[in-house]
C-alpha cells in the first residue's frame, strides 16, 4: 500500500512537472498584437518617415489652442461667459501656476520636441540617401526649434531636451536654461535646418518645413531678441521669395491650404478622422447654435469691440477676419477668418492654421528696417500689405510714427492668429496697452485682473516644479 502510494504520487508529480516545464518560459511571454514594440522599430527609412509624420501630427493639438496663449490675453480677443471655464483665466490675465491650460501647453510642446528628438536619435540607423536623411534631420530640427520658440516666448528659459528621455531618473536631471541659451539652440537648429532643407516640395510633401520656413522663423526669432541687423538680413532673403501678394480673402478658408501667402502652416484634414481642427467648435458664438456652422461653438477667441473698431475705413480685411453675431444685447465679433460655413457636425474643420505667412514676414521685415533706421524702405514693405488691403500707401513718416503704424498693421493683419500678445511683450508695451484696454473696455465676462510686468512670462506649471525641484518659478508667481 505504502509503496503504491509513493509510486502514484511520484507519477503525478512527474506529469505535473513535465506539463509545467514544457510551457513555463514561453507561455507567459506574449508578443502584443496590433502595437509595435519600440525595440523593433526605427529600422527602416519608412519607419523614420512615419515617425517624422507623427511629429508633425502633434502640431495639430498645439495650434488648436495657440490662440489661448498668443491672442486671448491681448486686447484683440476675448471669451464670453459660456467659455469662462475654458480660457477665462487667459482672457482676464488671472492665470496661475496651477492652470491646466498652461500645463497642457507645456506638455504638448515637449511632446513634439520628443518626437523630433526620437527622429534625430534614430535617423542614422537605417540605410537611406544622404539627401533624404538631411531632409528628415532638417525638418525635425525645424519642429524642435519652433517648439522651443513657443516655449521661450511663453515661459522664458526652459529645460533643453535634445535627446529622447528613456528613464525616469533622466527626466529629473534637467534645469531651466537661460532664455539666451534656448534662443541660441533655436538659432542653431534653424540655421542647420535651413542649410539642408529644400526651398519647396512637390506632391504629398507639400506642407512640410522648407528652408524658407526655417529662415523666416529665424528672422522672427531674431526680432524677438531685438537682433534687428540679423533679422533684416535674413528676412530680406525670405521676402525676396514672396510672390505677388494674395488678397486677404484668398488666404483663409476652406480649400485654400498651402496658398502663396503660406510659408508654414499646420495642416488640418476634415472628414471625421480626428485630424481636423476645432476652430469652429472653439470660436463660433455659442448662442448662435448651428446658424453659423453645423457646430455649436464655445465663443472663444472672439474679437473685442476695440479690435473691431481699429480697422480703418475701407479695409477689405474686416469682412474676412470678423463676423458679427448678435444675441440679445450681446454682440459677438467672432473669428470668421478661421471658420467656414460647411464645417461638419463632427466639429472638424479642414482649414489650416498659419504659423508663418509672407504678410507676417513682410511686416517683420518692415519693422526690422525701421528699427535699423531705414524707415522709407520699411514703408515700402508696409505698403505691400496696405495696398493689397485697399488702404492708402503711407509715406514720409518719422521712425516713431512708422513704428506705430507698422505695429498697428500687424495687429490688424494677424488678428486672431496668436501673435498679438507676444508682439505686445516683445515691444514692451503690453502693460501700457492692457492697462488702457482694461480701463476703456468692459469685457463680456468679468474684469481683467491686475496688469503687471510679471505677466510677460507665464508661470512654470506647478506640476512640473513639484516633480522636478530643479525648476525655478518665474518672478511674480
Amino acid at each position: 500500500m505504502k509503496t503504491k502510494n509513493i509510486i502514484i504520487c511520484g507519477i503525478c508529480m512527474l506529469i505535473l512537472s513535465v506539463a509545467v516545464t514544457s510551457c513555463k518560459k514561453s507561455f507567459v511571454e506574449l508578443t502584443p498584437k496590433g502595437i509595435i514594440p519600440v525595440n523593433t522599430f526605427y529600422n527602416t527609412e519608412i519607419d523614420i518617415r512615419s515617425a517624422l509624420t507623427g511629429a508633425y501630427s502633434s502640431l495639430r493639438p498645439i495650434y488648436n489652442e495657440q490662440y489661448g496663449f498668443g491672442e486671448l490675453p491681448s486686447d484683440n480677443s476675448q471669451t464670453y461667459g459660456e467659455s469662462e471655464v475654458l480660457y477665462g483665466e487667459q482672457d482676464k490675465l488671472t492665470w496661475t501656476p496651477a492652470s491646466t491650460n498652461l500645463q497642457s501647453a507645456w506638455g504638448r510642446f515637449y511632446a513634439t520636441i520628443a518626437y523630433a528628438n526620437i527622429v534625430l536619435d534614430h535617423v542614422n540607423t537605417p540605410p537611406m540617401t544622404t539627401a533624404n536623411r538631411n531632409g528628415y534631420i532638417g525638418q525635425a530640427k525645424f519642429l524642435r526649434a519652433l517648439m522651443y520658440f513657443n516655449l521661450v516666448r511663453m515661459f522664458g528659459g526652459v529645460p533643453l531636451v535634445l535627446n529622447e528621455i528613456t528613464s525616469e531618473a533622466q527626466a529629473y536631471t534637467y534645469n531651466r536654461e537661460t532664455a539666451a541659451t534656448v534662443y541660441a539652440q533655436i538659432e542653431k537648429d534653424l540655421t542647420e535646418a535651413a542649410a539642408v532643407l529644400p526651398a519647396s516640395y512637390t506632391g504629398t510633401d507639400i506642407g512640410r518645413a522648407t528652408s524658407i520656413a526655417a529662415n523666416a522663423l529665424l528672422g522672427k526669432v531674431y526680432m524677438f531678441q531685438n537682433k534687428f541687423q540679423q533679422a533684416e538680413s535674413i528676412l530680406a532673403t525670405v521676402s525676396a521669395t514672396a510672390g505677388t501678394s494674395l488678397p486677404y480673402d484668398q488666404v483663409f478658408g476652406l480649400g485654400k491650404d498651402n496658398n502663396r501667402d503660406i510659408i508654414f502652416s499646420v495642416q488640418y484634414l476634415g472628414g471625421g478622422f480626428g485630424e481636423g481642427n476645432t476652430f469652429a467648435r472653439s470660436f463660433v458664438p455659442q448662442p448662435s447654435g448651428t446658424t453659423i456652422t453645423a457646430v455649436t461653438g464655445n465663443s472663444n477667441n472672439s474679437g473685442t469691440p476695440d479690435l473691431f473698431g481699429s480697422f480703418e475705413a475701407g479695409d477689405n480685411r474686416l469682412n474676412t477676419a470678423i463676423g458679427v453675431y448678435r444675441s440679445g444685447t450681446l454682440v459677438y465679433y467672432y473669428a470668421k477668418k478661421f471658420i467656414y460655413q460647411s464645417v461638419g457636425a463632427n466639429s472638424e474643420g479642414d482649414n489650416d492654421w498659419p504659423v508663418l505667412r509672407y504678410a507676417d514676414v513682410i511686416l517683420l521685415y518692415a519693422e526690422a528696417l525701421n528699427e535699423n533706421g531705414k524707415t522709407a524702405q520699411a514703408l515700402t514693405q508696409l505698403n505691400l500689405i496696405r495696398t493689397r488691403s485697399n488702404l492708402d500707401a503711407k509715406s514720409g513718416l518719422s521712425q516713431a510714427d512708422a513704428r506705430t503704424t507698422i505695429r498697428h498693421e500687424r495687429r490688424i493683419e494677424l488678428c486672431f492668429e496668436g501673435e498679438r500678445w507676444f508682439d505686445l511683450i516683445r515691444w514692451g508695451t503690453f502693460v501700457q496697452v492692457m492697462q488702457a484696454h482694461k480701463t476703456n473696455f468692459v469685457p463680456a465676462n468679468g474684469l481683467i485682473g491686475n496688469v503687471t510686468p510679471n505677466l510677460a512670462l507665464y508661470p512654470i506649471p506647478t506640476r512640473e516644479i513639484q516633480l522636478n525641484a530643479r525648476l525655478t518659478q518665474n518672478p511674480g508667481y
Partner: protein
C-alpha cells in the same frame, strides 16, 4: 465523512452492548438513509467472492474493495449474525448480499454516493403497547414526499422510517405521545398525537449553519473545520429575486460583500460588487469569479448566469481563503456552484413569473404656471428676453411632466424549465430559460436565453467524469443615462461606440438629467406626429427670427430615447469537463479543462430623423443625412484553462490531513473589429448600418494574456478541535514586466474549537453555547487587473498628418517601458469567531480584518519634458482597509411557524498610506463643472467630497461688509461661504470635506417564515452614513431662465426685488460666488437608506388537489422587488454612482437610472 459508517469500521470498532449506544447508532443509520435519498433499487454490479466461515464484516469489506460501495450496517445485525460460507462468481451484488444475510430479516437499500444500507426490516422495531395507529405523509416544502424520515415516539426508542413516497405509519402508545420527525439537513419537528390519526408533516430545510459543507478553492470543506472567512449564500436566496443579473440579488445577503446597483434598474446592467472594501485606485476592484471551478476572465460572464441555476455562492473574503487563487484574488473570490443532478427519480419542473416594474419616485419640478412665473422673474433679474407669448393667456399652452414621458410601466417576465435526475452511474441536470425585461426608461431592454447541462458520470470504479456546458445569448438595448443634459460628464459606457482613433464615440444628451430641466410648455409631439423641439417656430417660443429662447443643446428626450439604438448582443458559452481518478483511498487526481467562447456585437445607430446636436432640425418629416451615425463592432474572445489537482485526504487516529497540489494554465485572447460610416457621408436613411455610407472606417484591437500557476495547500486538524491550513501559490503572467513575471502568494490560518475542549464544553453548554470557534489567518493575494501590455512602450499607428487634402501615414511612440511592473499585493490579516447557540438555532459570526494593499499600481507622473508620455504605471501606493463584519443566523420554530433569519452588518474604513512620493493625487471632478471634488490624499480615507460650505446669501450691503468674501469680490445675491480657516477671505483654502461617498456601514436582514402551506420571505438592506452629490443640481437650481427647475427652487433664490426674502439659493445672476467651479454644500445630501429589497409570499397547493392534476408540487407566489425605500435623498436612487466602480469618486448622481419597483406573480410546478 461516510467512512465512519462503513462496514469496515462498523466491524472494527467493538460493538458495545449498551442499548443507548445502539439506539444512537440506529438513529444515525436511519439519518444516513434519509440523506442518501434511498430507493430500493437493484444492485446490478457483479462480484465474485469465496469465503468460508468468515464474519460478515469481512465479506462486506471484500465487497467494498470490489465494488467501491460503502456499507452501512446496523450494529445489531453485525453482532448477531453468524459467520458465513459463500461462493459466487460474477454474481449480482444483491444476490450475494441476500445470501450473506439469509438468516436475518434485513432490508437492502441503495443510496447514491455508492452506499448500501443494510438494516432490519421495520417490524424488528416492535411497538410497545399499541393503542393508536397514526399515519401520514412527510414532504419537503415543495410538496415532494420525503423517504427515510425518522419518526420516533418521544422518550422511547420506538420508531419507523418513512417509505419511498414519504408515507409512514406508527403505533403510538396513547394520546399523550409526541412524535419526533427528524431528517438530516432539515428542521426536526415534534407533534402531539392527541386525537389525530393522520399527521402530515412538511419538513423545512435547516438554515445555513455550522454543520454545512462549504466550497473552498479547489475543493470543499466542512464548515466546522474552516479557519478562514467564507460567506455562503444559498442559491434559493438568489433565484427568488426578479433581477436580470445574479450580482444584483447578492445585495444584503452577505456580510462584507457590498453590492451597489449604481445603474439602478437599467436592464442587464451589472452592479458594482466589492468584497471588504477597495484595494486599488487604478486597477479593477472586482472580485474574481469562479464558476464551477472556472476562473472567469471578466465579471460579465458571471452576470450572464441564470440566477436560478445557482446552487450556492461562496465568497472567500479573507486572504487566507482566497490566496489559493493567488494573483487574481486580491478583491476576494466569488465561487459559484451550479445545480447538479442527483440520482433518483427524474424531476421536472417549470417556473415562470411575470410582472411589472415602475419608477417609485418622481422628482418635483415646476409645472406650467409656476414655470412661466419663474421664467418671467428670472428674465427680469437677468435682464433677458422671454417669448412674448408667455405674457398672454397661457391656459392653452402645454403642461408636460417630462419625467412621465420618458418613464413607463414596463413588463418583466421569466420562463424556465429544468430536469434533473439520473442513475447511480450517470446523473444530470439540465435547464433552459428565457428572461425578458423592458426598462422603465423607454428604449431600454434586456433579454437573455440560457441553457445549461451539467452531467456527472461514474465511468468505472474510482473514475469520475463531469461535464458542463452553458450556452447563453443576451440582447441589451442601452440608452444614455448619466451625465448632464448636454451629455457632458456621462459614463463612457453609455456612449455609442465609434472607431478608436478614427471616429469618436457618440455621447448623446442624458434624457434623465434633461427631463428635469426641460420646459413643461413644450409638447412632446407636433401636430404631424413628429417630435416637438423647443425651438420649433410654430410653438412661438422664439425671441426673434434668429434668436431661440431654448438652450441650444436641448432636444426632445423622448425623440432621442425612442430613436437612438445602442444594442449589444452577446453569445457566450462556458464549458468545462473534468476527469477524476481515485487510485487509492483518500487520493484524488483530477484534471480539469474549461473553455469560454464569447461573441459580442454592439450595434449603434442614430437615424436621420433624430434631432440632436449633429442634426438639430431633423425630424421624421425631414430626415437629415448629416445626423446619421452608424457603427458596428464585434468582439470575439476565447479563453481556456487547464488545471490539474491532486488531493490526498487521510485520517490517522485523531489526526486528519488534507493535501492539495495544483498546476494551472490559462490563456485569454480577444479581437475586436470596429466599423462605422463616417458621419456626414451617409447617402440613405433606409439602411441602418455603416453600409449606408460609401465612406466606412474600421480598425481592430487585440488583447491577450496568460497565467501559469502552481499551488499547494495543507489542511490539518486534530480531533476537529485544533485546525490549521496553509497554502502557497506561485503565479506567472504575461501581464507583468520582464523582471517580475512571477510572484508567490502564501497564506495560513488557525482555528480552535473551544466547545470541543472537555474543560470548556460543560460551562459553555450551560450558557447555551454548543459551538465556539476562534480562527485567524494571514495571507497575501495579488491584483493582476492591470491591462495586458501595460509594461511595454510601443509605437502607436495612425498618427497621421495631412498634406493639403492628402492623409500621410504617421506613427508616434507611446508608453514608457517599465520592466519591473508587477502585481499589486494585498496582505490581509483576519480574525474571527463562530458561535453556535442552542444547538445552532442561533449562529453568530464575527470577523475583523486589516487589509494592506502594497505596490498599488498608480500612474506615476513623469515630468512633461519626457514628451511622448506624461505618466507611466508603477507599483507605488499603499492603501489600508480595516473592517468588521457580523452575521447572525437564527432558526426557530414558533408553534406552526418556522422562522429563519439572517442578519448581517459590515463596515470598513479605508486609509491611503502612501502614494509613492506625492502627498496627493491630482484632484478630480465629481461631474462636469464641479472640479477638484475628490482627491486621494495620504492619511485620508477615499471618497471624501471637498467643496465650499454655503452658510447663506449676501442679502444686503451689511452682509457684504461683515462677512468674508471671495478674493475677486462678492455682490449682493451671492452665496455666502464659510471661512473655514478664519483668515477673513474666501479662497481655495476654505474648501472643506462636505461628505464622504463610502458608507460608515451596511447591513442586511433576511427573514423567512413558513406556516402550513404558506411561505414568506422579506429581505431588507441598508447603507448608513454616506453622502451623495446630487449633480442634477448643477442644472436644476441654477436659475437658467429658459429651463425648468426643481420645485424647491421656486422663489427660493435671491431676487433683488425682494431682498428680504429668506432664501437658500443665490441670485440667478450670481457668478462669482465660489472661487472657481467647485462643489458646494447645497448639492451634498445624506445618502443613507433602508431598502426593502424583496418580499415574497408563496402558497403551496395541497397534494390531494395536485394528484388530480398529476402534479408533484405546485407553488404560487407574489414578489415585490424594491417595494419600499426609506431615505432622505431627493434623487431617484441613493445607490446611484455615475462612474460605477471607480473607488476614488463614489457617490455621484447625475442623470443616473432610477431603481424600479417590481411586482411579479410566479408559479413553480414539479412533475
Amino acid at each position: 465523512m461516510y467512512k465512519i459508517f462503513t462496514a469496515l469500521l462498523c466491524g472494527d470498532i467493538p460493538c458495545y452492548t449498551q442499548k443507548i449506544l445502539r439506539v444512537m447508532r440506529l438513529t444515525i443509520i436511519l439519518i444516513m438513509i434519509a440523506v442518501l435519498q434511498v430507493s430500493a433499487g437493484t444492485f446490478a454490479q457483479q462480484v465474485s467472492i469465496n469465503v468460508k466461515d468468515a464474519p460478515v464484516r469481512t465479506v462486506l469489506s471484500q465487497l467494498t474493495k470490489q465494488t467501491g460501495y460503502n456499507f452501512i450496517c446496523d450494529a445489531n445485525i453485525i453482532n448477531s449474525i453468524s459467520p458465513v460460507t459463500i461462493k459466487f462468481k460474477n454474481t449480482p451484488l444483491q444476490r450475494v448480499l441476500e445470501a450473506c444475510f439469509a438468516t436475518q430479516s434485513v432490508e437492502l437499500l441503495f443510496g447514491d454516493h455508492a452506499t448500501i444500507v443494510i438494516k432490519r426490516k421495520l417490524q424488528v422495531v416492535l411497538p410497545v403497547a399499541q393503542v393508536i395507529s397514526v399515519s401520514g405523509k412527510i414532504t419537503d416544502n415543495k410538496g415532494v414526499g420525503l423517504p427515510g424520515v425518522s419518526v420516533l415516539i418521544k422518550g422511547t426508542k420506538t420508531g419507523v422510517v418513512s417509505d419511498v413516497n414519504g408515507n409512514y405509519t406508527i403505533k403510538a402508545p396513547d394520546q399523550r405521545a409526541v412524535l419526533v420527525f427528524s431528517f438530516i439537513g432539515m428542521v426536526s419537528q415534534e407533534v402531539s398525537v392527541g386525537d389525530k390519526t393522520v399527521i402530515n408533516i412538511v419538513m423545512a430545510d435547516t438554515p445555513q449553519s455550522l454543520g454545512d459543507v462549504v466550497v473552498v478553492g479547489y475543493g470543499t470543506q466542512s464548515r466546522t473545520t474552516v479557519t478562514s472567512s467564507i460567506t455562503k449564500v444559498e442559491g434559493k436566496n438568489i433565484g427568488n429575486q426578479p433581477v436580470s443579473t445574479p450580482g444584483e440579488a447578492l445585495a444584503g445577503l452577505a456580510a462584507g460583500v457590498q453590492v451597489q446597483s449604481d445603474q439602478g434598474g437599467k436592464p442587464g446592467a451589472a452592479p458594482t460588487i466589492r468584497v471588504r472594501g477597495v484595494s486599488s485606485l487604478s486597477s479593477s476592484n472586482d472580485p474574481l469569479y469562479v464558476v464551477d471551478g472556472y476562473p472567469l476572465e471578466t465579471a460579465a460572464n458571471f452576470n450572464l448566469i441564470n440566477p436560478s441555476d445557482i446552487e450556492s455562492i461562496e465568497v472567500l473574503k479573507d486572504a487566507a481563503s482566497a490566496a489559493i487563487y493567488g494573483s487574481r484574488a486580491a478583491n476576494g473570490v466569488v465561487l459559484v456552484t451550479t445545480k447538479r443532478g442527483k440520482a433518483g427519480k427524474t424531476v421536472f419542473s417549470v417556473s415562470a413569473y411575470t410582472g411589472i416594474q415602475s419608477v417609485n419616485k418622481y422628482i418635483d419640478v415646476l409645472s406650467k404656471d409656476q414655470y412661466v412665473e419663474q421664467v418671467k422673474a428670472l428674465s427680469r433679474i437677468k435682464n433677458l428676453q422671454y417669448p412674448s407669448i408667455l405674457d398672454g393667456d397661457i391656459s392653452g399652452l402645454p403642461d408636460v411632466d417630462w419625467q412621465k414621458e420618458i418613464f413607463r410601466t414596463a413588463p418583466i417576465s421569466s420562463f424556465e424549465f429544468n430536469a434533473s435526475g439520473g442513475s447511480e452511474k450517470v446523473r444530470f441536470s439540465a435547464s433552459a430559460g428565457i428572461f425578458k425585461q423592458k426598462g422603465v426608461l423607454i428604449g431600454t431592454e434586456y433579454t437573455r436565453y440560457n441553457t445549461r447541462i451539467n452531467l456527472d458520470a461514474d465511468i468505472v470504479k474510482n473514475v469520475k467524469f463531469g461535464f458542463s456546458i452553458s450556452p447563453s445569448y443576451s440582447e441589451q438595448f442601452r440608452q444614455p443615462s448619466s451625465g448632464q443634459a448636454s451629455g457632458a460628464g456621462a459614463n463612457p459606457s453609455d456612449y455609442i461606440i465609434g472607431v478608436p482613433g478614427l471616429l469618436a464615440d457618440l455621447n448623446l444628451p442624458s434624457p434623465l438629467n434633461q427631463t428635469l430641466t426641460f420646459q413643461p410648455i413644450v409638447p412632446v409631439y407636433r401636430a404631424n406626429g413628429d417630435f416637438a423641439q423647443p425651438y420649433d417656430r410654430e410653438l412661438n417660443y422664439n425671441l426673434s427670427p434668429t434668436s431661440v429662447f431654448s438652450a441650444s443643446n436641448f432636444y426632445n428626450p423622448v425623440g432621442i430615447l425612442s430613436q437612438s439604438i445602442n444594442r449589444s448582443r452577446a453569445f457566450r458559452t462556458l464549458s468545462n469537463a473534468f476527469l477524476e481518478y481515485a487510485p487509492i483511498p483518500g487520493l484524488k487526481l483530477k484534471t480539469y479543462i474549461g473553455a469560454t467562447l464569447e461573441n459580442e456585437q454592439i450595434h449603434g445607430y442614430v437615424p436621420g430623423s433624430m434631432a440632436y446636436s449633429s442634426a438639430p432640425t431633423a425630424s421624421y418629416a425631414s430626415p437629415q443625412l448629416a445626423g446619421i451615425f452608424a457603427s458596428d463592432n464585434v468582439r470575439n474572445s476565447f479563453d481556456w484553462v487547464w488545471e490539474n489537482t491532486a488531493t490526498y485526504d487521510k485520517q490517522l487516529g485523531k489526526h486528519h490531513f488534507n493535501l492539495l497540489g495544483l498546476f494551472s494554465a490559462q490563456k485569454y485572447e480577444s479581437q475586436i473589429n470596429y466599423t462605422a460610416g463616417l458621419p456626414g457621408t451617409f447617402i440613405t436613411t433606409s439602411v441602418e448600418s455603416p453600409l449606408a455610407s460609401p465612406n466606412t472606417v474600421g480598425t481592430e484591437l487585440f488583447d491577450a494574456n496568460t497565467f501559469v500557476s502552481y499551488a499547494g495547500r495543507f489542511t490539518y486538524d486534530y480531533d476537529k478541535k485544533y485546525l490549521f491550513t496553509a497554502a502557497v501559490r506561485q503565479d506567472g503572467s504575461s501581464r507583468f514586466g520582464l523582471n517580475n513575471k512571477y510572484a508567490v502568494f502564501p497564506s495560513f490560518s488557525l482555528g480552535w474549537r473551544l466547545a470541543e475542549e472537555p474543560f470548556l464544553k460543560e460551562p459553555l453548554a450551560k450558557i447555551g453555547i454548543n459551538e465556539f470557534k476562534l480562527r485567524g489567518g494571514y495571507g497575501r493575494t495579488g491584483n493582476a487587473n492591470i491591462g495586458s501590455f501595460t509594461y511595454v512602450n510601443a509605437i502607436a499607428l495612425n498618427r497621421n498628418y495631412a498634406s493639403g487634402s492628402n492623409r500621410i501615414f504617421g506613427t508616434q511612440q507611446t508608453g514608457f517601458a517599465n520592466p519591473d511592473l508587477t502585481w499589486e499585493k494585498n496582505d490581509q490579516t483576519s480574525i474571527g469567531t463562530d458561535i453556535g447557540l442552542l444547538q445552532n438555532k442561533i449562529v453568530l459570526t464575527f470577523d475583523y480584518f486589516i487589509r494592506n494593499s502594497n505596490g498599488m499600481l498608480l500612474n506615476k507622473a513623469l515630468p512633461l519634458d519626457v514628451g511622448y508620455t506624461t505618466t507611466y504605471q508603477a507599483n507605488l501606493g499603499k492603501l489600508q482597509n480595516k473592517g468588521f463584519e457580523f452575521t447572525a443566523n437564527t432558526n426557530f420554530k414558533l408553534g406552526a411557524v418556522t422562522w429563519n433569519a439572517n442578519a448581517n452588518f459590515s463596515t470598513y474604513k479605508t486609509k491611503v498610506l502612501d502614494l509613492g512620493g506625492p502627498n496627493a493625487l491630482p484632484a478630480v471632478r465629481a461631474i462636469n463643472g464641479w472640479n477638484n471634488v475628490y482627491q486621494v490624499q495620504v492619511g485620508q480615507p477615499l471618497g471624501i467630497m471637498y467643496g465650499y460650505e454655503i452658510v447663506g446669501v449676501f442679502r444686503n450691503a451689511a452682509d457684504l461688509a461683515n462677512n468674508p468674501r471671495v478674493t475677486s469680490g462678492n455682490n449682493i445675491g451671492d452665496s455666502m461661504i464659510k471661512d473655514q480657516n478664519g483668515d477673513g477671505k474666501i479662497d481655495v483654502n476654505d474648501m472643506t470635506a462636505l461628505g464622504h461617498g463610502l458608507p460608515d456601514f451596511t447591513y442586511g436582514l433576511t427573514n423567512s417564515f413558513q406556516y402550513k402551506n404558506f411561505d414568506l420571505s422579506i429581505l431588507m438592506q441598508g447603507v448608513q452614513g454616506v453622502n451623495i452629490i446630487n449633480g442634477n443640481n448643477r442644472q436644476t437650481i441654477t436659475g437658467n431662465h429658459n429651463q425648468n427647475s426643481l420645485s424647491k427652487y421656486f422663489n427660493n433664490y435671491f431676487d433683488p426685488a425682494f431682498p428680504n426674502r429668506d432664501v437658500v439659493y443665490p441670485s440667478p445672476i450670481s457668478t462669482g460666488s465660489l472661487p472657481g467651479p467647485a462643489l458646494s454644500s447645497l448639492a451634498v445630501e445624506n445618502g443613507s437608506y433602508l431598502r426593502v429589497r424583496n418580499i415574497t409570499l408563496g402558497y403551496r397547493l395541497n397534494e390531494n388537489l395536485l394528484k388530480k392534476i398529476a402534479l408533484q408540487s405546485a407553488r404560487f407566489y407574489v414578489t415585490a422587488q424594491n417595494p419600499f425605500l426609506i431615505t432622505n435623498y431627493s434623487g431617484y436612487n441613493p445607490e446611484a454612482n455615475i462612474m460605477g466602480g471607480d473607488p476614488t469618486t463614489p457617490g455621484v448622481d447625475q442623470g443616473t437610472y432610477p431603481t424600479a419597483r417590481t411586482i411579479i406573480f410566479g408559479i413553480n410546478f414539479g412533475f
